[in-house]
């Protein structure tokens, strides 16, 4: 009698774990977000002939580049069970400093790009050190940093844009290779590198482990503090790179640019299936999540929908995504 009971419970477990594996596999590559993206694209393609043209799609890509680059960094941060609210401000400060280097101080393109990325990484390092070693909650640290850095950008420029960025510094955001914008190539490279880091590298594995269970990871010998520091530095450096792309596109550095970018980036990561509690998520999902936000914006614009209404719809999408995640978790249990 006991033997039968045990066997059925084993079968149950096996069936459940099978279902779980399928779900988490599709999840690992942002399956749900991809399906949602395809549906949205199909709807726009039917409603608006302008939508599926090459020039419009390239336009979407160019618009989405900054968000995707920043969201890739945010993916690492969120999987490690942290949050980075300072990304928007960091992009803005990096952009005005870059503009000032190139336009005012006549620094060359390569050095400008390197300086801006280094500045982003430095801001990330400060965040990371405060979270990892001073053990202050990431929400608090980056909330403070968001305000500090935005203030720094405004102080540095007196609140005015800095224009006149030279062409060599604009190449990554404005240049093209054939018809393909360089910004898209940069985005693709960032995506590929972050994907490989998460899937294959020791550091990426530790990001998942720390986010999944910090105590277990610590006891297993994972360098928990170093891992946290790492994700914030990557997030900061990618903000620097995103600022270069933005700078190139606009030809100027605006201290008020990228406001609310942190919320879009977090939304992209969550729509992509990551858990805000850490341990789960993928850069594929984030990629699709960011595209959903960008396509929605672009398609609704083409349809002539009021931009205030677009805001409402974006918010609804975010909540729907989390609701979906909740349902997915229920099937898991």
């Amino acid at each position: 009698m006991t033997a039968t009971a045990t066997r059925t419970s084993d079968q149950d477990t096996a069936r459940r774990s099978g279902l779980r594996t399928v779900l988490s596999k599709s999840d690992a590559f942002g399956g749900t977000a991809l399906v949602a993206l395809l549906i949205i694209v199909t709807v726009f393609a039917i409603l608006e002939p302008q939508f599926l043209t090459t020039s419009n799609l390239l336009n979407v890509g160019r618009q989405a580049a900054v968000l995707i680059i920043v969201a890739c960094g945010m993916t690492l941060v969120i999987i490690s069970a942290n949050i980075d609210l300072s990304v928007g401000s960091t992009v803005a400060l990096c952009a005005v400093v870059g503009a000032s280097l190139s336009a005012t101080h006549g620094v060359g393109g390569v050095l400008t790009v390197a300086g801006v990325v280094a500045l982003g990484a430095l801001i990330g390092a400060v965040n990371g050190a405060l979270v990892a070693w001073a053990k202050i909650n990431a929400f608090i640290v980056t909330l403070g940093m968001m305000t500090v850095v935005r203030g720094a950008a405004l102080t540095y420029t007196d609140g005015y844009p800095i224009s006149g960025v030279q062409d060599d510094a604009r190449y990554l955001g404005f240049g093209t290779v054939g018809r393909i914008p360089v910004a898209l190539i940069v985005t693709a490279v960032v995506f590929a590198v972050v994907a490989i880091v998460l899937a294959k590298s020791v550091a990426g594995r530790h990001v998942y482990a720390v986010g999944g269970n910090e105590t277990s990871s610590h006891i297993a010998g994972v360098a928990v503090a170093r891992t946290k520091f790492f994700v914030f530095v990557v997030s900061g450096a990618l903000c620097g790179l995103a600022a270069v792309v933005l700078l190139g596109r606009l030809g100027a550095g605006l201290p008020t640019s990228a406001q609310g970018l942190e919320l879009d980036a977090i939304a992209a990561v969550i729509i992509g299936g990551a858990s805000l509690f850490g341990g789960r998520g993928s850069v594929f999902g984030t990629f699709f999540g960011a595209l959903i936000l960008a396509v929605l914006q672009n398609g609704l614009n083409l349809l002539g929908v009021n931009s205030f209404v677009i805001q409402i719809l974006s918010g609804v999408i975010i909540i729907l995504a989390v609701l979906l995640d909740r349902l997915r978790n229920r099937t898991r249990k």
């Binding site: 419970s9 988490s24 530790h206 998942y208 999944g212 269970n213 277990s216 006891i219 297993a220 789960r280």
Partner: protein, 495 residues
Amino acid sequence: MTETTPLLELREVTKRFPGVTATRKASIAFFPGRVHALLGENGAGKSTIVKMISGIYQPDEGAIVVDGQRVRLHSPADAEAAGVAVVHQHRTLVDELTVAENLFLGHLGRAWARFRRRTWEAKARELLGRVRLDVSPGAFVGDVGPAAQQTIEIARAIGRDARLIIFDEPTTSLTPPEREVLFDLVRDLRDQGIAVVYISHDLGDALALSDEVTVLRDGAVVAHERSGWDVQTVVRHMIGRSLDSGFPRTRRIGAETVLDVRDLRSPHLRGVSVSVSPGEIVGVAGLVGSGRTELLRAVFGLDPVDGGQILLDGRPFRPRSPRHSIAAGIGFVTEDRKGQGLVLDLSVSDNVVLGNERPLASAGLIATRRQNTTVDATIRSLQVKTSSRGVPVGTLSGGNQQKVVLGRWLARSTRLLLIDEPTVGIDVGARGEFYKLLDDYAAAGGACLVVSSDLTEILGLADRVVVLRAGASVAEMKGSDMNREAVLRAMVAAA
């Protein structure tokens, strides 16, 4: 009091959790006006039964019968409506509210509607009178002592017209005189016709107080008696197996010393000395709070050390962090597998190599084939039962999860294993397998320091036992001196 109808009855109740059957076909009847002691070791199924009676869990099979009628208790509210109340091991009162407010908490709406404040407090005073507690209804709960707080919980249960009250380890935070007061109160409740379920690790108290006794082992009812049992009979039923069965011993103890802890002091330890040789399993016994876990944590670099000495292979060792201890060849299998051992969302494979990925990687990238080779070897040698190495480790049974944690340390050539409660939450069958793995490890020259609350386990497993009391090592025994009575006496002795 007639005994024809039990107030509440469990009929062949089975409850399963992934990997563990918590109760199997357990039948127990609780009668009004009787104190019924529920006894058993940790994991025997007592708390599962309490949770089924109080509506937190629902049985997978079998029935719960109240007043002769089958019922389904879907929630604690259902159980409360059926007259069930629990006086918890952990307090459930709100410190910032008054005694009267706590008494009617969750029923405030009803209370507000029915009474003006004065009648409300009068009602509270009446309830406090029934449990003979002399505190003002307007006093804040945070200001009264732990014993009074527990009594307030009992008063609350009575106030909700409870007909069956479950006492879950009620004496743990009470002084001896307070215990006597509690016992009187329990007898009072019995005489008022309430069915009392009494759960305690203190077998002497439980036997003295109860009118009938049910012993659980591995989820099943193994004995039930109206009265006339002594502690030894109960213990025999609780353990149900002879002391040395299932504990293989193929190891040979080496002459040298791997770990030598001398007079170790920390905020939780007041002088602990213990040593372990290669091929040796040393057991650490002691009551909860005696510093057992804290000893392992200190050696592993998780807690700071204030004084004393730790020698590793005869050389002084000051553990700074887990990474530092791991580098010195120490591994730690924690008591809380899910919270402090595994990352449940990661696969079996990733958990086996967690923290040890560097040797599998080149240029920072993990070579999947090399990882698979390592993991497959671990799965094979420890006989981990899993459908594949890729499934989330959380889907495995407790015993197999424990093997994954152990496998992680074995895969990185650990010389000294610290193990806290090796078989907590693991089915009996799987325990034997785990004991064999530990013996194999020691036979290969490994050293083990094992903490366990299960005396049978510790006496069977260990070559030597060190007893901790109040943060200090107070006794060490081996061979024929190492027996249950001696260990127990050292654990609790007053001086």
